[in-house]
Symmetry: none
Subunit: 222 residues, 4 copies
């Protein structure tokens, strides 16, 4: 899974939205834009700084992207696509319906999946999170193309394990919410505190505790 993942920024840098190949300059522009947007936020970033960091002339940016916002979208749109890539790909060949033997495996897969993704795309995700509230078009697209798809996918996976007990009594949406909350809380904390040198963060243990917590909370046995 992560093998494909590892290469997608490079892919992003290799071809643009139309699938057309990127020149080396265009790639440098996108790289710099990611850096600058993540550092200062979209609105506070200037195309001139992006050009400078990319080592190209200001005009060159606008040869490739009509406006500054188009450049933002060129970065953020593929990020959305990739966000759901694992789900779509699996769903595609229908393998996944039988892929997981236990809900615990599902949780572990989600954790690894997200962590890996986060590690490789921190800057882009930061930009996405920052800008989503201000761009209704991006919101709509995220909801429609990503969240809805992912949720539907998860709903079907979860349904498979709702065979009885507590889990059967909970709406699948609630199961998903509770699971994702715990996982995202784990990842977020890990991201913030897990990297400090002074931190007492035993990653292995925290992850196991989190999984156990969810399993117990859903009335499942590990």
């Amino acid at each position: 899974m992560s093998d494909t993942m590892e290469q997608w920024i490079e892919e992003l840098l290799r071809s643009d939205a139309d699938g057309a190949k990127m020149t080396e300059k265009q790639a440098r522009i996108v790289q710099s834009a990611i850096e600058v947007f993540a550092e200062k936020g979209y609105a506070a970033s200037s195309t001139s700084e992006i050009a400078q960091r990319a080592g190209v002339a200001e005009g060159t940016i606008f040869r490739h992207y009509k406006t500054k916002k188009a450049l933002l979208l060129a970065i953020v749109a593929p990020a959305m696509t990739k966000l759901l890539a694992p789900f779509v790909l699996r769903g595609f060949n229908n393998v996944l319906d039988s892929e997981y033997d236990s809900y615990e495996q599902v949780l572990r897969a989600m954790i690894e999946n997200r962590i890996e993704f986060l590690r490789k795309n921190r800057s882009i995700l930061k930009i996405l999170l920052q800008e989503i509230p201000f761009h209704p078009d991006m919101q709509a697209r995220l909801q429609r193309d990503v969240i809805a798809v992912v949720l539907e996918r998860l709903r079907r996976i979860v349904a498979k394990f709702q065979t009885g007990g507590v889990m059967k009594e909970l709406p699948s949406a609630t199961v998903i919410r509770l699971s994702l909350s715990a996982i995202m809380g784990y990842i977020a904390t890990r991201t913030v505190y897990g990297e400090r040198e002074d931190a007492e963060w035993d990653d292995e243990r925290e992850r196991e505790d989190t999984i156990a917590f969810v399993m117990r909370g859903l009335g499942l046995r590990q």
Copy 2:
């Protein structure tokens, strides 16, 4: 608790950081700034629009706030203070050590507390969340004056209930994280979906499911 809470925006608008009384124009400036910052983000907001919405001359803003950033801080700084008000107040008279009979009560208090707070301060919190990543000074202050205080407070409350079973075996920080994740996941989902007219969101039930999930996850009986 929420009685006091309900009035604090009005308080914010009644007196500034120095405790000096706000003129009516100053209050209008702060109001407009909250609106505009929340709508467009700090960097994309212009002082001229804020002035216009407040019905004052642009110069008037700068008579009260030396810079645009000072205006931001005048909005966000008291929000931080209020964020921890409930914790500090209770700790003060030491009542709370004996306040909660069960961890369930703690969870319910946190939920009500935060929901109420969120309801009244949505815009300001949005601004805070948006700007924190770009203002290291705000980050430091939030960490030192709010997060550290709240966590320490929660740690002591949690410790009281770590008498045995699963909960005793988990670090209190982990208990807090798992609890907060679930609560915040609930509140966030509720905030996004709970207000849509078409939504199938049974708030009562979702809250109870969440509390039950946490209790079970921590090995506690309701």
Copy 3:
């Protein structure tokens, strides 16, 4: 001579152009204005800084002086008057026609006169010199009320000593120019270098050399 002189700033601060008495606040305003104008130049000075230094409200300045320029004139105009005070006063009672026995005495008087004046009015003179080029009204007034008067006065004094030799052959305007050039060059150099601690400036000697130079240059014996 310098006895009167020594007090004129105080006089300036005691009564305004109409001869009306100055309040203490008004005096503080003028004082501060002199400081600030001299430090930063008229155009780069702000009335708010002047008010602040004077410890009065911004509005107070405009109660006393209709505009910023009026404040400038209130400082500079009396300076012009005082500039020629010694000449006018003496001319008035006609004593001076017989006051000096030699041209050397005239030179010595001018030097002492100017040095004393400069010492007490450095800031105001600096302002005058800086602003003269940009205010034609001030130029006209200086020319008409000061320069013309002083030159006429000097012309008559010089004439008295043009009894023969080189001096008789030079136009009195030329004599004045040559004398004033030397004196002003001496004073200027002294002002710039004479106050440095490291400077090798023997004031006594420089003054005597200057006087001797002029006397010799004009073909007079000391």
Copy 4:
């Protein structure tokens, strides 16, 4: 000497501080800036007026000069360089040690030199004189790069003629001061009065009188 001199404003307008060629617009900006600064003083000049007179957009100014002050320096700095050009050039090929046969020749050279320079650079010199008091960096540079160099140069020239009599007894610095005072007094008066139509200014005679005055004052024979 003055042949080269005559061309330096054009040079200034042909290439900037880095030696890079100036565009036509850049030249117009500098021209307008010189005009406006000279007319109103630096602080009272607005970049918008400069842009308007130059017939360019305001932004264009800042493409070439990062700040208004940088524009000032771009005008004033080369003026300083040119100010000492004649001295440096001569010193360079060491011709000048034997260049003047008499001190009178030195005086005549200085007069012509300065008059020519003044004629061509009146505006820039006015700006320089006006702004020097408010820019310590410019002061330092002028002192170090111009005044010190010129004085040293003059000191050596003067020393050559201090073979006896009055001149030998005077410090060379004093000789320079007295000579420059007389020359500058002559030039200043000439500049102010010599151009009025009504003026009774016989330039030829005034110059000769001045030179004779200095020679006599220094105890030299013409």
